[in-house]
């Protein structure tokens, strides 16, 4: 099997040995109604309501959506619009924590009977793709006939630099992952389960092999540490050899991919009834005083999390949700930790210094390393020409924005940015065409 291309990025996973500590002391917790792909959730609490850890704050609206639960106990202070890193304003529930972190008394282990009840439970757990994508997992697992599922791939690649929160899940919560695997086998009839882990995490491979050994139908696949190993299409190809066709979903080739933390969180919900209320977050970057893994109640502000880690040792120039390859930079530190936040990075002013783009020298590095086989140079030409047919011809829509092209570009051109613009233009064009 041919290996898909990519780049060797620095690993920078110095927090891998840092067992997470719990952060409980919060001044405020903020829950934006969009913490997933799909329709925003609808708030079900009002100002003055008392809530506990695990109390439903907002229910999912429509098919593709996800409920949101409180990560702290306290009182609802207000419901107000907040700015998200996407640039959109969405309503958010603000909770004034009482500091007690009392769990909701109504929480109880979930009783499962069949596939339908399992999928419904996953929907109710509030779990979304915790690798960073944020697609509601309940929607992903709702494939109609479970016989369509031939393989389930558990994503433990964690290919982004710095991030070690999945590493900690694999090390500290391997029993949760094992329970999750049993659930998948029992309720989705998964015949083959593949756990994909990058080779640079030997201790995780050992932990996963241990749990795989105790049950049939589970294999651990060691993956080369080439970024973007954890990207869905790349992972599927390297674990199953299958190619997800353009415009298709993994289930079209009989595969479902679940992030390891996603699976562990589902298992915890079924066992205890505690929905997704906290996240293991890697706090790292050149500006952070004490880089470490922290279990943060969802809703905590970035400022609070960085303060918990000893504050900044130097002026931060850029703060990111997620890793440096695909992470999103945030305008201020009052934003909260979201469901899909797996890392918070603060880069110092020097690391965040903007780079000036110069002429493309047509060296072809971007074209040669693109995992998907796209040619960012051709996309640039097509986008510049304004011809949507040309953009479609170079398959700009297939770009997964992994960042490899921008990373290797010697002229430091903003290739990912250009691809995003091209994708948006193409999507708008297709939408307009289908209207006619």
């Amino acid at each position: 099997m041919k290996r898909m291309k990519g780049v060797s990025v620095p690993h920078l996973k110095s927090t891998a040995d840092s067992a997470p500590t719990y952060m409980t002391d919060l001044d405020i917790a903020i829950y934006p109604m969009t913490q997933h792909i799909g329709a925003p959730a609808t708030p079900v609490r009002q100002k003055g309501d008392t809530v506990c850890v695990g109390t439903l704050l907002a229910k999912g609206t429509g098919t593709v959506s996800s409920p949101i639960y409180s990560g702290v106990s306290g009182t609802v202070e207000k419901i107000e619009e907040v700015l998200l890193s996407s640039g959109n304003y969405v309503p958010a529930v603000f909770i004034k924590p009482d500091g007690a972190m009392t769990p909701d008394p109504g929480l109880a282990p979930v009783q499962l009977t069949d596939t339908k009840s399992f999928v419904e439970a996953v929907r109710e757990s509030g779990v979304v793709g915790l690798g960073g994508a944020g697609f509601p997992t309940g929607v992903k697992l709702d494939v109609g006939d479970p016989c369509r599922i031939q393989e389930i791939v558990i994503n433990g690649a964690e290919c982004e630099p710095y991030i070690t929160s999945d590493t900690r899940t694999m090390l500290d919560r391997s029993q949760d992952i094992l329970e999750g695997i049993h659930l998948l086998q029992k309720y989705l009839g998964a015949k083959k389960i593949i756990i994909g882990v990058e080779k640079n995490k030997p201790q995780c491979i050992r932990a996963m092999k241990q749990i795989a050994g105790s049950g049939g139908g589970v294999v651990v696949k060691e993956l080369p540490s080439i970024y973007p190993q954890g990207a869905e299409k790349v992972l599927i190809y390297h674990t199953t050899g299958k190619v997800v066709p353009e415009g298709g979903l993994p289930i079209d080739v009989g595969v479902i991919v679940l992030n390891c933390t996603t699976l562990a969180t589902i298992a915890r919900y079924i066992r205890t009834g505690m929905p997704l209320v906290d996240k293991c977050v890697t706090v790292d970057g050149s500006a952070v005083a004490n880089p470490q893994n922290v279990i943060v109640p969802i809703g905590a502000t970035l400022q609070a999390v960085f303060d918990f880690c000893g504050g900044f040792k130097s002026q931060p120039g850029k703060v990111l949700y997620g890793g440096p390859m695909m992470g999103v930079s945030v305008p201020d530190l009052h934003m909260p930790v979201l469901k899909q936040t797996n890392a918070l990075l603060a880069l110092d002013v020097r690391d965040a210094a903007p780079v000036d783009a110069t002429n493309c020298i047509r060296c072809g590095r971007c074209t040669n390393i693109c995992p998907i086989g796209l040619a960012p140079v051709s996309i640039a030409v097509a986008y510049g020409s304004g011809s949507m047919e040309a953009l479609q011809k170079v398959h700009a829509n297939l770009c997964m924005e992994c960042g490899c092209c921008s990373y290797v570009c010697p002229a430091k051109r903003p290739l990912v940015q250009q691809n995003k613009l091209a994708k948006a233009a193409l999507a708008a064009w297709h939408k307009q065409k289908s209207k006619k």
């Binding site: 695909m326 530190l333 110069t358 297939l398 430091k412």
Partner: protein, 321 residues
């Protein structure tokens, strides 16, 4: 916190590769050949190279100032062009002719098309051809390598010219490899060029595809056309501008295809044209013409050898669904 945070699109880290770094590597890779040129042809080789480099850098700077563009001489690409052009000239070239060549390379071939990365033909190659056609006499006045005693230059024919005339007295292969024969000042020492080429390969500035395909094609065709004589084949790959062309000129980013298959095809094309000109053409040497012709074909090769897109559905099918 008073200072504002930066908002940019991902990725937030970049590799350490820069345009200037790549060009610096090429300059370093050309140094062994420059040293060999000085050893073979005397201090004048260094003098001519300096003139070409200076003329290239200055004409780039002046052009960019006149056209109100951001000067980009810091990326060292003009230095590379100057060195390559000098290496493609006989040591006896007149200073003003070298300067004309430099201006043609930088202003006409490179800057008028938009600067670095936008030119469709290799500047040094094109300038060499312009000089060859304009000043045929001084461009084909070859001298025997005389070392530092360059007081008087002794006229001599290049090995390829000798071979074309069918002369029996060809220089031995060893002399060809170390460059002790007449020719352009930077192209004769195959060994020094090979060292530079290997350096570029190690530094991953170039890939093996173009040089291997180019030199391999010349070797194979000469081998078969030369009655299966290994000596003839070796003679062909060690003489003329082949090493310089294959490692330093045909690998030029802007004027060659980006993908591996494209580079192979490009290299094979260069090889075929080179041998065809050498064996059956009027000119004794064909490397520059071969590269120029393949430069022009590059957009088509690029299109032909585009990478297969992972999971792509053909455009017609997309429209149907």
């Amino acid at each position: 916190m008073d200072q504002k945070l930066q908002i940019t699109v991902s990725p937030h880290i970049r590799s350490s590769i820069t345009t200037g770094g790549i060009m610096l590597d090429v300059v370093i890779a050309l140094l062994p050949a420059l040293a060999a040129a000085v050893w073979l042809f005397g201090a004048r080789a260094l003098y001519i190279t300096a003139i070409c480099v200076l003329a290239c850098v200055l004409s780039e700077l002046i052009f960019q100032l006149i056209t109100k563009r951001t000067p980009s001489i810091g990326d060292l690409s003009a230095v590379v062009t100057g060195m390559l052009l000098a290496f493609n000239l006989p040591v006896s070239i007149l200073e003003w002719q070298a300067i004309v060549g430099s201006v043609v390379a930088i202003v006409i071939v490179k800057q008028l098309f938009g600067g670095i990365g936008c030119n469709f033909a290799n500047p040094a190659i094109t300038a060499r051809i312009v000089l060859l056609l304009s000043f045929s006499q001084s461009m084909t006045y070859w001298t025997k390598p005389a070392g530092f005693s360059s007081g008087d230059l002794i006229s001599s024919a290049t090995p390829l010219a000798l071979a074309a005339q069918g002369t029996e007295k060809l220089p031995p292969l060893f002399d060809l490899a170390i460059g002790k024969h007449a020719g352009c000042m930077g192209e004769t020492c195959a060994l020094a060029l090979l060292i530079g080429g290997v350096y570029l390969l190690i530094r991953r500035v170039i890939t093996w595809h173009t040089p291997v395909a180019f030199i391999g094609t010349v070797f194979l065709i000469s081998f078969f056309a030369g009655d299966f004589s290994l000596e003839t084949a070796l003679y062909q790959i060690l003489s003329g501008g082949l090493m310089l062309g294959a490692f330093f000129m045909a690998t030029d980013y802007a004027t060659s295809p980006p993908t591996g298959w494209g580079k192979l095809l490009f290299g094979i094309g260069c090889g075929v044209i080179t041998v065809a000109i050498r064996l059956w053409g009027t000119y004794p040497e064909g490397v520059s013409f071969a590269i120029l012709i393949m430069n022009i074909l590059t957009p088509y090769i690029t299109k032909l050898c585009a990478r297969k897109v992972f999971g792509a559905v053909r455009a017609e099918k997309v429209q149907k669904t």
